[in-house]
Symmetry: C2
Amino acid sequence: MRPTIREVARRAGVSLITVSRVVNNSGYVSSETRARVEEAIQKLGYIPNNISRSLRLKKTNVIALIVSDITNPFWTTITRGIEDACHEQGLNVILCNTDESPEKLDEYVNVLLQKRVDGFLIAPTTDDTDTLISLVEQEVPLVFIDRHPQTIRASIVRGDSEVGAYKLTEYLISLGHSRIAILSGPEKASTSQQRTAGYKRACQMHQIAVDPSLIFCGEYNQEHGYHTTLNIFEQIHPKPTAIFAGNSLIAAGVFKAIYDLGLKIPADVSVAAFDDLTFRFTPEPFLTVVDQFPYQMGYTAAQLLLKQIGDQTKTTYEEIVLPVELIVRHSCRQV
Amino acid sequence: MRPTIREVARRAGVSLITVSRVVNNSGYVSSETRARVEEAIQKLGYIPNNISRSLRLKKTNVIALIVSDITNPFWTTITRGIEDACHEQGLNVILCNTDESPEKLDEYVNVLLQKRVDGFLIAPTTDDTDTLISLVEQEVPLVFIDRHPQTIRASIVRGDSEVGAYKLTEYLISLGHSRIAILSGPEKASTSQQRTAGYKRACQMHQIAVDPSLIFCGEYNQEHGYHTTLNIFEQIHPKPTAIFAGNSLIAAGVFKAIYDLGLKIPADVSVAAFDDLTFRFTPEPFLTVVDQFPYQMGYTAAQLLLKQIGDQTKTTYEEIVLPVELIVRHSCRQV
DNA sequence: CTGAAAGCGCTTACAG
DNA sequence: CTGAAAGCGCTTACAG
């Protein structure tokens, strides 16, 4: 059984209040009293109970992070940024993986609402809206990361998908490509809408006709990249000379399909993608990408959430769009 | 302000106890009463406060996970296994990154002790012993993952490093290699001791002299892999024909060094490593590895911790050694 | 500079 | 099947 503040008080011959003051460094305590209390704490191995503190203060210093899968390096890196920002401010983060299941999201949100976390950082997937709406209605501090569910007005930190896609497409056009397939994400996801929009804008700006049969929406996963690429090479004529993968999972699928088709990148087809994630174990990274700086994204999102937790008074809605960067490497060639 | 159990009770015309019973599904409640209470809960949007519940019950249903860096795919995958196991049992996990800093470890442990987490899952680094000893003395539920700090008796779940290293070395020997450099981890880390031991045992079993100048301890990071490999190719004669990297970070450094030296794998030198982590974005994985199944490792560790949290009575010490597997690919050649 | 008392929102052993 | 009362371990506004 751990000693409580009461035992410390008894041992130091003071009241509970005084002990509370020295523990929290608040209010006046004479230095002799402080010393006595500190000695008692020491001797008893007293560890303040923050459960009761939280109950009184209605503040847990814990936030919830909900992503689809921490194992996806994009989310891993975001998570690290979040944890660092929270650690600096003395908060802890509870990690949740939903695997894109609305039921798991529900479950997590319910449990964490019961645990009275101070706020939520959520990377929403397409079909989660109901639970999220209810969070917003309850005015729980909440910031979205990366994606913005349709119709929900809440704070968000995201990369500039439109501009990123524009730059990437423009780069491909500058290499002489005019038939560029884009393997985007789900039609309803704000990120894939923005990426497709950037792609279209670049085409239009450079007098290249947008061919709707080169725009493929699908999940942000390898299967989409793989099967769509196989499809493209079987059925589309004239074949595209470049493929723009909407994220790195899709890119991995594209790579595999091209490998299985016995083709070479960039000799037979140029490939570029969103998100720069394979660098860690590659001596010489190869893929041309748009980097969204996920660490910064997580860090910024956490800071925004902490700010909102700080001033609960005004329920302000804030959208932070982070700049992205085109990193040219060796997966695209001049045609 | 959220409604409390008191308001629900008033609205339903029952006592607090009764509300508590229906919320927790414990004890007898007539179905009419239950219905009335449930309606009140519904109408008020009552969300039980688990802070106060935790205070009473002395149980938070939260555990702490402390790793050096979630961004390292080995830990990412372990983390996912842990989170899944905890989620199944209704616990949440707080994620902490120490960056191998003993001070950060201290800080996290103190804060989380104050938050009264139900237990700790820790991947210790070499110099953390003091804080960890104190945790063990306090009989806080604790299980180590992957590594075992010297001198501390506590539960641990780890891969079979010795056998893994033995198999990997034996495989290299079977290809005709007799000068095999091993780039192991820190001298004091149990994992690197075991890997070095497995390496030596394999050499001895196959009548190959163990050359101490081919055994390189260092950090589990890219720098060690990089600089040691450069060193090897400048200074060691006769040169080793194979390099055994102690983990995947070291392997990445080895790869980069070999690339920078203008050499090819496996034509000029064979390379094999611990941990299979690059598969995700690679259509055709190349590196021959020992897979430690980090997902399983995390899952198992969490289960062990949850078991220990369950029966607090006996402070049993348990060591679970998980089997590992040699996965032969294309980074080693016959000599 | 120090303290008495109420209260944060639950649960539980006991009585009826 | 239902409830009164004590208590989990803190903090705070107020008084002295």
